[in-house]
Symmetry: C2
Subunit: 124 residues, 2 copies
Amino acid sequence: MTAILSVCVTCRRTDSDPEDETRPGAHLRHALDALDCPEGVEIRSVECLSACNNGCAVALSAPGKWSYVYGRMSPENASDILEGSAAYAATADGLVPWRARPVIFRKQSLARIPPLSANPDPEE
Amino acid sequence: MTAILSVCVTCRRTDSDPEDETRPGAHLRHALDALDCPEGVEIRSVECLSACNNGCAVALSAPGKWSYVYGRMSPENASDILEGSAAYAATADGLVPWRARPVIFRKQSLARIPPLSANPDPEE
């Protein structure tokens, strides 16, 4: 199954224009749609990733892989987000080598969640 | 399948004792283990939920449900964490009604990730 890039389209940013009725998250989605979507990646719009203090937020998930949430994204990051999503899609477990991650993914990870199939206890 | 409560056992807290060689995350795990684990909940230790600035962190996940990550947890929150986990386990989609969530879950959510089976586009 493909990797899912979830984009919060209701996200605000602290630096967003209060006069603009289009949410920054929607602008980010449009910026992503304007580029070629990498093979193995599907973009989905969601309403709220509960990371409102760190908008715009996106998440990467796929069956059997670690899931990631990234924050403080902007439309200018669209290309890097897709590049990082492609690298994620190419892994078996979601763990992209550190140096192969876009800088925004290295520095702006909000959280990650282990796959349900993960070893029940890392010490066992 | 049961709901998985992932506990980062390598987490630090900003207010933790630097002389204590046991990580605050491990203390949290011990506090959880000292209580009765609710039916339908399995506790797993993980090393790093990439929420290091908001430790201690825990995550809730289950097949077909929204996943959640919570931060700034302490051993004193163990009972509330298990109560919130039980409420999560009892849902079909992971969405516990707001008022039924422990206050720490309402106020200290770091992020959530939609289930892979989620409607591809909320506007469709």
